[in-house]
């Protein structure tokens, strides 16, 4: 059983692209379509890492990450934001929300896997 990753992105093709890259590397991937659905998964299950988009309907990725810290199961789970946003201001917001790494799309799959490896092995 591979380490468990929660991947949250509102774009189905992006979930497929990132999800396949991560699962091909041996991780066990669960996906969610927006921050609200992601948060309900964060509440119910412990993950080894969370990868999330920022701009999503219903609840954005930063709100989800912030709210997710309330649940003991994922209080310390490392979070990677995977987003088209690249401004310093947005990255600062990511840091405040508790994200560890900020990856800007279009991302290189090898880089994303390198980050995951560094964070959780």
């Amino acid at each position: 059983m591979g380490k468990k990753i929660l991947l949250v992105d509102d774009s189905e093709s992006m979930r497929k692209i990132a999800g396949k890259a991560i699962s091909d590397a041996g991780y066990d991937v669960t996906t969610a379509e927006d921050g609200k659905l992601g948060l309900s998964k964060i509440e119910k299950e412990k993950y080894d890492a969370i990868i999330s988009d920022v701009n999503m309907p219903n609840m954005n990725g930063l709100e989800m990450v912030k709210a997710g810290r309330m649940f003991a199961s994922n209080k310390y789970t490392p979070v990677i934001m995977l987003t088209t946003e690249s401004s310093d201001e947005m990255r600062q917001k990511g840091k405040e929300a508790g994200a560890k790494v900020w990856v800007v799309k279009p991302f290189n799959p090898d880089q994303l896997l390198g980050v995951l490896k560094k964070l959780i092995g």
């Binding site: 509102d10 774009s11 189905e12 093709s13 992006m14 497929k16 692209i17 990132a18 396949k20 890259a21 701009n55 999503m56 309907p57 088209t84 690249s86 401004s87 990255r91 990511g94 840091k95 994200a99 560890k100 790494v101 900020w102 990856v103 800007v104 799309k105 279009p106 991302f107 290189n108 799959p109 880089q111 994303l112 980050v115």
Partner: protein, 215 residues
């Protein structure tokens, strides 16, 4: 002022779109170039000139907000062995760039409160305007169709392919589009602009920037 993207150095940057008053059309014109997008407001018309590139107009039918992008895919054969495009292949530069070009436009609408299930699309461009062996226009059309199918965004109308460049006028509040064909003889500038944009993407590997936030 809205944000647009540009493919300079292969890095997506935000900048102010060129916007001017058009006395004949009696509205503000927001002109976008290859690699850029804009989400419009009432009283504006988004305009672009397309060769083999694609412009996708995305409209949130409940909010009445629309935007248009003008994107170019990297020069890369990305059809798989069975001749299909593969929008979700993470090894494909085209898939990753094309996804981001579409996502950036959609994100602007989501940020304004748009819902994905209210999105509709109109697609334009993908003409064969150069005499190369690869029909870039056809690949671009195939990409955007497949992308929209996966994202479950309905294509309301399209005017794609053929041999003539197009000038697109998009009304972002009503979702109306006016297409004007341009004579091939006048397509020189368009080809130059699109090639420059494609070269920018090609010159740079799709290395998304990585920032460690706690350092």
């Amino acid at each position: 002022m809205r944000n647009v993207i540009t493919g300079e150095d292969g890095v997506y940057k935000t900048k102010s779109a060129s916007r001017y008053w058009d006395a004949r059309l009696k509205c503000h014109i927001v002109k976008i170039l290859p690699g850029e997008y804009a989400v419009g407001e009432a009283g504006e018309m988004i305009v672009t000139i397309l060769g083999s590139c694609i412009a996708a107009c995305i409209y949130e039918k409940v909010l009445g907000i629309g935007g248009m992008n003008h994107f170019m895919l990297p020069f890369e054969k990305y059809k798989n062995r069975s001749g299909e495009n593969n929008v979700t292949d993470y090894k494909s530069l085209t898939a990753r760039y094309g996804n981001v070009a579409m996502e950036m436009l959609i994100n602007e609408i989501i940020k304004k409160g748009g819902m994905r299930y209210n999105l509709e699309a109109k697609i334009f461009g993908g003409a064969s305007i150069t005499d190369t062996s690869t029909d870039i226009g056809a690949e671009n059309i195939a990409f955007v169709r497949e992308y929209l199918a996966i994202e479950k965004i309905k294509i309301l109308s399209e005017d794609v392919g053929g041999f003539l460049p197009r000038k697109i006028y998009y009304n972002p509040t009503t979702n109306d589009v006016y297409v004007k064909r341009i004579e091939r003889a006048n397509a020189g500038d368009i080809i130059v602009a699109e090639n420059a944009c494609r070269k920018n993407i090609k010159d740079k590997e799709a290395d998304g920037k990585v920032y460690f936030l706690d350092t």
